[in-house]
C-alpha cells in the first residue's frame, strides 16, 4: 500500500520523499542477524545458503580473517585463533573475566592472542558488524543511512559504549542502541496490536534479560527491566559438558577436545528439545570412551539452579514494575526452545508464552522496525518507545558508600543533579568516582569513571557547593558534568571505561581501515559530511525564518557566524574541520531549537482534550 506522504508541520520537510535504508542488527553472543523494512514488511537477510543466522565467530588465522560459518568450522582445528562469544567480553576487563588461557594480560586490557596478533572484543564485534553490513549491501542497492543495534537490557554503560565503538569501527552510523527485550516486544506489539502489559523473557547464548512493558496508545513504556548479564544458554551447555565428563569418566581435555565435547553437548541440548533422551557418543572425543545417555529429566535437574536464577530476576522485575500480572509473555532467544523454560515461565506469569515469531529472529525484526522509524521514513509505524536505565548510577561518597543519583528503572533520557561539598577546610580539589550498580558499597558496584574537579577556592569544610549532573541519553549512555557553584569551575566527562578503547585508538584503527580501502571511503565520508552541512544550514535557515524572533540580536549574530564558518568549511576538503564546524553550528542552533520546542508545547497540549488527542494519533 502506498500512502501519500504529508510532512508534519515543523518537521524537516525537505527529505521526506526519498526512502531511506536503515538496518536492524541483532549482535548476539552466539548468532548475529540483520533485517530491514521493505514495503511495510520486515525482511530478515540471509546468506547464500539461505541461513539468517551469522555465527558470531571470527577466525584470526595466519592466512587471514574469516567470519561466520567458515570461522566456526575452524573452531576445532584452531581454537586459539577462533573467537566465539566475544560479546561476553565487551566492555569488560580481565579482572572480571577470571583466568582464560587466550587472554592477553600484557596488553593491559582484555584481548585475545591470535595469529593476527592481539585482538580486542570490540574488534571482533566490529568484524561481525562488517560482515552483516556487507550482507545488506549485497542484497539492497540503497546506501545504508543508519542502524539500530540491539544490546541486552542489562548491559551497563561500559558494555553499551563498547558496542557503539564496534559500530564506529565498522563504519556504521548508529541511530540507537535498543534493548533486546524491548526490540522483541516491538516486533510482537506491532504484530498483535494488543494493548496491555507484556513480559519479555529473553534467554540468549550468554545473557539473560527480563523486561516488563506496557503498550498503550502507541507508546511502548518499559516499566522495569532486570536480568543477569552472565547467564545464558552457554551455561546450560556447560552443565551438560560437566555431566558428560562425569558420566563418561573423561579426564583433562586439550582445547581441541574441549571444543569437540562442547559441540556434542550443544547438539545434545538441542536434541533434548524434542526427544526425551539422547545418547552421546564420546569415542570421537576421547577414543575408547563409552557413550552416555542423558534424559531430559536429568538435564532439567542439573540446570534447575540456572532456571531458578532467571525466575528470581522475573519476580524482582514484576515487583519493580508495580504490576499485579501481565497480559502476555513473550519468549526470545534460542535458549527458550528448551521445554523446561517455556513451562516454568508460563507458571511464573500465569500465561502461556507466545512464540509465534521465530525466537532467533524476533529481536532483529523489532530493531528493523525501530530503525525504519528513526530514519524518518514517513510510512513507518507510528510508535514511540520509552525505555529505562537498567542499573542505578551514583557516586562514591564518604566511607566508600554509594550515593545513588539515578535509580534503576528511571525512564530515559534523564538529567539529574545532586550537590556535594568539601569534607576538609581549604580543600581545593575533589575526586568524583562514578559507579553503576545496586549495592551500597562502592567495591560491590561497577566502577565507570573517575574524574577530578580542581580549582575550588579554599573555603571551610562544607561551604563549597559542587553540583554533579548525570545525563543519560536515549541509548542509555552516560555523561557526567561537575560544577562548583561559587566559582563556576567545571569538569565535564563523557564516561569512558579505563579498559575500553580510547578515541585515539579508534581513530588509528579507522585510519588503518582507510588505507586498505584506498581513498574512496574518505571521499564518501566527505560527501556525507557536506550533505549533512547543507541540511543543517537549510534547517536552521527555515527555523530562523519561522521563529527568528525567539533569538535576541546577539544570539542570532552568533548563529549566523557559525553558519558562515560552516559554509566555508564545506567548500574545503578538510573533513576534520568540516565535522568540527557541523558540531559547533549544531550546538549553536540548540538554543533556537529548544525555544521552538517550548513554543510548540502549547500547541501540542492546547485546545483539544488531551485524552482525545492521545487517541487520535492512532489514526
Amino acid at each position: 500500500m502506498v500512502l501519500l506522504q504529508i510532512a508534519e508541520p515543523g518537521a524537516a520537510p525537505e527529505h521526506t520523499a526519498e526512502r531511506k535504508l536503515a538496518l536492524g542488527i541483532d549482535l548476539g553472543t552466539t548468532n548475529s542477524l540483520v533485517a530491514y523494512v521493505e514495503n511495510g514488511a520486515v525482511v530478515v537477510l540471509r546468506d547464500e545458503e539461505g541461513s539468517a543466522c551469522l555465527p558470531s565467530v571470527v577466525h584470526y588465522g595466519a592466512e587471514g580473517v574469516l567470519v561466520g560459518k567458515p570461522a566456526e568450522a575452524l573452531a576445532l582445528a584452531a581454537p586459539k585463533d577462533t573467537i566465539a562469544s566475544a560479546k561476553r567480553y565487551l566492555g569488560r576487563d580481565e579482572a572480571e573475566m577470571g583466568e582464560t588461557d587466550y587472554v592477553d594480560l600484557e596488553a593491559g586490557r582484555l584481548a585475545f592472542v591470535t595469529s593476527q596478533g592481539s585482538v580486542t572484543p570490540v574488534e571482533v564485534a566490529a568484524a561481525l558488524l562488517q560482515a552483516l553490513r556487507e550482507r545488506a549491501e549485497a542484497a539492497v542497492s540503497l546506501p545504508i543511512s543508519g542502524v539500530v543495534i540491539t544490546v541486552p537490557a542489562y548491559f551497563d554503560d561500559a558494555q553499551r559504549l563498547a558496542t557503539r565503538q564496534a559500530a564506529e569501527l565498522s563504519g556504521l552510523n548508529v541511530l540507537r542502541l535498543l534493548n533486546e527485550p524491548t526490540s522483541a516486544a516491538i516486533a510482537y506489539g506491532l504484530d498483535s496490536r494488543e494493548e496491555g502489559v507484556i513480559a519479555v523473557y529473553d534467554l540468549g547464548g550468554g545473557t539473560f534479560d527480563i523486561s516488563i512493558l506496557r503498550l498503550e496508545r502507541g507508546v511502548f513504556e518499559v516499566l522495569a527491566t532486570g536480568g543477569d548479564s552472565a547467564l545464558g544458554g552457554d551455561d546450560f551447555d556447560k552443565q551438560l559438558v560437566a555431566l558428560l565428563t562425569e558420566e563418561g569418566g573423561l579426564g583433562k581435555l586439550d582445547p581441541s577436545q574441549a571444543r569437540q565435547l562442547l559441540q556434542k553437548a550443544r547438539a545434545a541440548k538441542e536434541a533434548l528439545t524434542d526427544a526425551n533422551e539422547v545418547t552421546v557418543a564420546l569415542d570421537s572425543v576421547v577414543p575408547g570412551t563409552a557413550s552416555v545417555t542423558v534424559s531430559r529429566e536429568l538435564f532439567n535437574e542439573r540446570c534447575a539452579p540456572l532456571v531458578e536464577r532467571s525466575l528470581d530476576a522475573c519476580r524482582q522485575c514484576l515487583a519493580d514494575a508495580g504490576v499485579a500480572g501481565v497480559d502476555q509473555v513473550v519468549l526470545v532467544g534460542g535458549s527458550t526452545r528448551m521445554p523446561i523454560i517455556s513451562k516454568v515461565v508460563g507458571e511464573v506469569f500465569g500465561r502461556k508464552p507466545l512464540d509465534s515469531i521465530d525466537p532467533d529472529q524476533v529481536v532483529a525484526m523489532g530493531a528493523a522496525r525501530q530503525a525504519d522509524l528513526l530514519v524518518g521514513n514517513r510510512d513507518a509505524e507510528d510508535l514511540l518507545l520509552l525505555d529505562v536505565i537498567p542499573l542505578s548510577l551514583g557516586v562514591e561518597t564518604y566511607g566508600g558508600l554509594v550515593e545513588r543519583i539515578v535509580p534503576r528503572n528511571t525512564t530515559i533520557p534523564v538529567a539529574r543533579a545532586q550537590e556535594f561539598t568539601t569534607a576538609r577546610d581549604g580543600q581545593t580539589g575533589l575526586v568524583v568516582h562514578v559507579v553503576q550498580g545496586e549495592r551500597e558499597q562502592v567495591g560491590d558496584c561497577r566502577s565507570l569513571a573517575t574524574f577530578e574537579l580542581n580549582g575550588i577556592p579554599p573555603m571551610v569544610a562544607g561551604a563549597a557547593r559542587i553540583e554533579v549532573t548525570f545525563r543519560v541519553d536515549a541509548d542509555g549512555l552516560l555523561e557526567v558534568a561537575a560544577r562548583e557553584a561559587t566559582t563556576n569551575a567545571v569538569a565535564h566527562v563523557v564516561v569512558k571505561p579505563a579498559f575500553g578503547l580510547d578515541d585515539d585508538e579508534i581513530a588509528a584503527m579507522l585510519r588503518a581501515g582507510y588505507e586498505h580501502a584506498a581513498d574512496d571511503m574518505r571521499a564518501r565520508q566527505l560527501t556525507e559530511a557536506r550533505v549533512e552541512a547543507e541540511q543543517l544550514i537549510a534547517g536552521i535557515e527555515s527555523a530562523l525564518a519561522a521563529d527568528g524572533d525567539l533569538l535576541d540580536e546577539k544570539e542570532r549574530h552568533q548563529l549566523q557566524a557559525a553558519m558562515t564558518q560552516l559554509g566555508a568549511a564545506a567548500e574545503g576538503a578538510d573533513i576534520e574541520r568540516l565535522r568540527e564546524a557541523i558540531e559547533v553550528t549544531g550546538e549553536a542552533s540548540a538554543t533556537l531549537a529548544a525555544r521552538r520546542m517550548d513554543r510548540s508545547i502549547k500547541d501540542a497540549l492546547g485546545g483539544v482534550a488531551v485524552a482525545a488527542l492521545a487517541g487520535d494519533s492512532e489514526l
Binding site: 524537516a12 531511506k20 543508519g146 541511530l175 540507537r176 498503550e216 496508545r217 502507541g218 515487583a319 522509524l373 528513526l374 530514519v375 524518518g376 514511540l384 518507545l385 557516586v395 562514591e396 564518604y398 550515593e403 528511571t410 525512564t411 530515559i412 533520557p413 534523564v414 538529567a415 543533579a417 550537590e419 556535594f420 561539598t421 568539601t422 575533589l430 568524583v432 562544607g462 563549597a464 557547593r465 559542587i466 554533579v468 545525563r471 536515549a474 541540511q535 543543517l536 534547517g539 536552521i540 557541523i582 549544531g586 550546538e587 549553536a588 542552533s589 540548540a590 538554543t591 533556537l592 531549537a593 520546542m597 510548540s600 508545547i601 501540542a604 497540549l605 492546547g606 488531551v610 485524552a611
Partner: protein
C-alpha cells in the same frame, strides 16, 4: 571525597507549565498520563533522530524534563515538595526544622509495630497499617488546604510530615511482602 551538600538548586522548569496544568495540588493521574504521552510523542529524541545536532540536543533535554516532571507530578509527596520549591521554599532547610515530638514518637512506635517479628498476621500490625494510611491521608489533606490558602509555613510543616509518612508506608509495603 564528596559529601552531600546543604541546599539545592531552585527549580529549572515549572512542570505545571510544561504539562499545561493549573497550579493545583489535586490532579487527574489519567489526564496527566495522557499529557505525558502526547508530549513524549512529540518531543522524544527518537522523533529527531534524523535531524540536526541542535534539534537532537534540545529534544534530549526537553524529553528528560518531561520524564522528570511526570515522575514528580505523579507522586503526591514529590508534587507537594515541588509546589513549595517553585515558590522559593528551601526544602533542605525545611527538613532541618524541628518536628513535633508527639508525631515523631508515634512514627517510631508504628514502625516497631510493623517490624515486630511474626507480626505479619497479628492484630497490632493491621492497626498500624491502617493508622499509617490514615495519617498519610490527613497530612495530604492538610497540605492541600494550606497550599490552597498560600500558607507556606503550614504547608511546609505538612510536607515534612509527608516525608516521614512516605517512608512509613514504604515500610508497610516491604514488611507485607510474602517471602
Amino acid at each position: 571525597m564528596p559529601v552531600a551538600a546543604e541546599g539545592f538548586p531552585t527549580v529549572a522548569r515549572d512542570y505545571f507549565e510544561l504539562f499545561q496544568l493549573p497550579v493545583e495540588f489535586d490532579l487527574d493521574l489519567d489526564d496527566l498520563a495522557g499529557r505525558f504521552r502526547v508530549l513524549q510523542r512529540k518531543f522524544h529524541p527518537d522523533r529527531f533522530a534524523s535531524q540536526g545536532i541542535g534539534e537532537r540536543r534540545a529534544a534530549a533535554q526537553l524529553s528528560a524534563d518531561i520524564n522528570s516532571g511526570y515522575r514528580v507530578l505523579c507522586d503526591p509527596v514529590a508534587r507537594a515538595g515541588f509546589m513549595l520549591e517553585r515558590v522559593g521554599c528551601d526544602l533542605k532547610a525545611l527538613e532541618r526544622e524541628p518536628v513535633d515530638g508527639g508525631f515523631l514518637m508515634r512514627q517510631i512506635e508504628l514502625r516497631e509495630a510493623l517490624r515486630a517479628p511474626g507480626s505479619s498476621a497479628a492484630e497490632p500490625r493491621a492497626q498500624a497499617v491502617a493508622e499509617a494510611k490514615a495519617l498519610m491521608e490527613a497530612a495530604l489533606a492538610g497540605f492541600r488546604a494550606a497550599i490552597g490558602e498560600d500558607d507556606l509555613t503550614a504547608a511546609g510543616g505538612f510536607y515534612v510530615q509527608l516525608l516521614y509518612l512516605k517512608k512509613l508506608n514504604a515500610e508497610v509495603a516491604v514488611t507485607s511482602e510474602p517471602v
